[in-house]
């Protein structure tokens, strides 16, 4: 089957915007619909789009498998560490350790932002890894 250039061009143009939208979902998850998991999946779907249109080698050149694996493991560790930080400070698992009792005019919660960021990294790296491994096996 012949591959057209349309697929190639569109996916190359579209993928950066998917990454950007994924990052937006991750970073605004504490204020608006979205969050770490959703954003991470959107980022991973950008990687999958590239892998399907340009081949898994091209996608792996952009995001090397090894770096993704390291990101996933480190993010996993950091999520556990952030959760356990609450236990260490006597506030309980996953308790907001950054909240000092003052209410801000805009309700941004740095703690939730950090958690979303880590979950986004973990999910994005994990889902991309699964797909890259599957494509590589074909």
């Amino acid at each position: 089957m012949r591959k057209t250039d349309i697929l190639d061009v569109v996916s190359r143009k579209l993928a950066p915007f998917m990454f950007l939208f994924g990052l937006y979902l991750v970073s605004h998850g504490d204020l608006s619909p979205g969050g770490g998991f959703q954003g991470g999946v959107v980022i991973a779907s950008g990687v999958i789009l590239l892998a399907m249109a340009k081949g898994s080698a091209a996608a792996a050149a952009l995001l090397p498998v090894r770096k993704l694996a390291v990101t996933e493991a480190v993010a996993f560790g950091l999520i556990l560490a952030v959760g356990l930080a609450g236990v260490l400070m006597g506030a309980g698992f996953l308790a907001d350790v950054l909240y000092d009792g003052t209410l801000l005019p805009i309700v941004r919660t740095p703690f939730v932002f950090i958690l979303n960021l880590l979950i986004g990294l973990k999910v994005g790296a994990g889902a991309s890894l699964i797909c890259l491994h599957l494509f590589a096996q074909e």
């Binding site: 996933e72 609450g86 309980g92 698992f93 308790a95």
Partner: protein, 574 residues
């Protein structure tokens, strides 16, 4: 109490360490470190023991959010016992995994994830989190079953994946119905709400409980939802088989106990009793027909879970203690049996009972461990199987279904005489040789895989010795052990389910080893020997081959699911 949350977070941390191990050079070291959290969990459980024994229940809200919005974890006597089971058997399995030297950090990552999932299931107070726990358990189990990448393992894993995903959809449907009715996912709040509502007004709750029971029933593998289990447990890597048969099926059973207790679904007890007795009997018939050592053991797991279910369904003063103690004892002796059988299979490269080379001379300690396990499961005094079967006998108290269980005990004895081939060095001569030749000539209904012989390692002796001693100890000290179980279980909400006498004394027999009881075990043993002799005759072997071939197809099992849902829901309107 943060120790409750640590019981869930520690295994996840272990999994994370193993994941890092994949990326750095020090993979073996990190594999070992990844299993250290099991020790921490053990220590935490030991520290909590006195308080839990006093009837304390530690509740922990994740993130500090109170219930109905937040997720609570609870460690009470019930959760403590389940956690101890998970930690103990997992530790033994970890030793066995190190022993075979074939598994790297990816394996330990999935193994620790499985442990974490089981801890979530047993400790959570939130039914959706329970669902998530079941899925973590299932996904790691799929990977572990197929881990050796044998053809049979991959197929078994796929079959388990199909069936348990179908089953968990029923569970999810039940969760949806409950959330629709109660507006909360917390089991504790649901229990409070449903206590004030009359049973007749909870029609959709009956359907929800039925759906949850079917979903969990697929994981617990009672008949007719059992068909994935023989393959999954037989073709998984040997240590994994021990973990699956030892703990995994119990965890889902414990979850079912919780749900039945929360909704006071006592109307299910007769159904559970008969399903349990039928499961025990039918599974032992299939077990007798098997010639693959691990398949035979897997069928026995189904059969013994039937015992547990029947004891629980009896709703007498003893039944909860009896069910729990048999579940615990089964975990001990079945993981022992799977570990030794796995070692024997690995050492001779054959799984066929008629081709396997006996390990009696080469590994006497393992052979001894196997004998202990076999005597336990066959209910020979003074091992623990005898003790818990005594409790079950008293719990059922001349119920008609007990006849089925008695026949099952005969079948169990017979099939373990058959499996003793893997330990006893024997020279077939005369008619025995003829039979062996005939059996090796007869084709089995399932291809019995052959692998390269390999050493089983030295470390395998640690779990075998520990589990063997525990089998003996829980049998000899049966009365204190069952009193302990009863006192741990009675303060939890489960006590209300069984009709315990007013004083809360569950009527544990004063002695487990009286002369009359010992004599009572004798006919079972004698008939078992006769039955074994029967199966070695030519018509017996032909019949066995025929039974072995009966296997429902996947689409039939899906019908069973729907049928089971209708049956469980209809039980409320009897």
């Amino acid at each position: 109490m943060s120790s409750v949350v640590l019981l869930v977070v520690l295994p996840f941390a272990g999994a994370m360490i193993a994941l890092v191990g994949k990326l750095v050079r020090a993979e073996p070291v990190l594999s070992v470190i990844s299993t250290v959290p099991l020790l921490g969990m053990g220590a935490l459980l030991v520290m909590q023991f006195p308080a839990v024994l006093d009837g304390a229940a530690f509740t922990y809200s994740l993130g500090g959010w109170p219930e109905p919005a937040g997720i609570a974890l609870t460690l009470d006597g019930f959760g403590w016992l389940s956690s101890v089971l998970v930690v103990l058997i997992s530790t033994m399995v970890v030793f066995a995994s190190f022993s075979s030297r074939r598994y790297r950090s990816t394996y330990f990552f999935v193994l620790m994830l499985l442990v974490a999932g089981m801890q979530v299931v047993v400790l959570t107070e939130d039914i959706f989190t329970m669902f998530v726990g079941f899925e973590i358990v299932a996904i790691s189990a799929y990977v572990l079953i197929a881990f050796d990448r044998t053809d049979e393992g991959l197929l078994a894993s796929l079959k388990y994946l199909l069936l348990s995903s179908m089953g968990i959809l029923f569970f999810l449907f039940g969760v949806f119905l409950l959330y629709r009715d109660f507006g909360t996912l917390s089991l504790r709040i649901m229990a409070e709400d449903s206590a004030t509502t009359p049973m007749a007004e909870m029609t959709s709750v009956h359907l929800a409980v039925a759906a949850l029971c079917v979903g969990i029933g697929v994981r617990t593998a009672f008949m007719p939802f059992h068909t994935w289990l023989p393959e999954a447990h037989a073709y998984a890597p040997h240590p994994v088989s021990a973990l699956l048969s030892g703990v995994l099926i119990k965890i889902s059973f414990f979850a079912m106990l919780r749900i039945i207790a929360v909704f006071r679904a006592t109307y299910l007890s007769d159904l559970l009793l008969w399903i349990g007795a039928a499961t025990a009997f039918l599974a032992v018939v299939w077990a007798l027909a098997q010639r693959d050592a691990k398949r035979l053991l897997a069928y026995h797991s189904i059969s013994q879970m039937g015992y547990v279910l029947a004891a629980f369904g009896a709703t007498s003063a003893l039944s909860l203690t009896a069910a729990f103690s048999h579940a615990m004892h089964h975990a001990l002796f079945k993981s022992l049996l799977f570990l030794v059988a796995g070692a024997a299979v690995q050492m001779s490269g054959a799984r066929d009972l008629y081709l396997i080379r006996p390990i009696g001379r080469r590994a006497p300690l393992l052979a001894f461990g196997f004998v202990v396990g076999a005597l336990s499961i066959a209910g020979v005094p003074p091992f623990n199987g005898f003790a818990s079967k005594q409790l079950i006998t008293s719990a059922l108290d001349h119920h008609p279904a007990y006849a089925l269980l008695w026949i099952t005990a005969v079948g169990t004895t017979a099939s373990f005489i058959k499996v003793s081939r893997i330990v006893l060095p024997r020279r077939p001569a005369g008619p025995a040789l003829q039979i062996t030749k005939l059996m090796t000539g007869l084709r089995s209904a399932h291809r019995v895989p052959v692998s390269e012989p390999a050493s089983a390692g030295v470390m395998i002796h640690i779990p075998v010795v520990v589990l063997g001693l525990l089998c003996l100890a829980t049998g000899v000290f049966a009365r204190p052990v069952s009193l302990l179980l009863a006192s741990l279980l009675s303060p939890t909400g489960l006590g209300a389910f069984t009709t315990t006498s007013a004083a809360g004394d569950p009527a544990i027999p004063a002695t487990f080893l009286s002369g009359a009881k010992l004599l009572g075990a004798l006919p079972v043993l004698l008939l078992g020997v006769l039955l074994y002799a029967g199966t070695t005759t030519v018509p017996g072997t032909r019949l066995a081959r025929r039974i072995e071939r009966i296997m429902p197809e996947l689409r039939t099992i899906l019908l069973f699911f729907v049928f089971g849902l209708a049956l469980f829901a209809a039980a409320a309107y009897r």
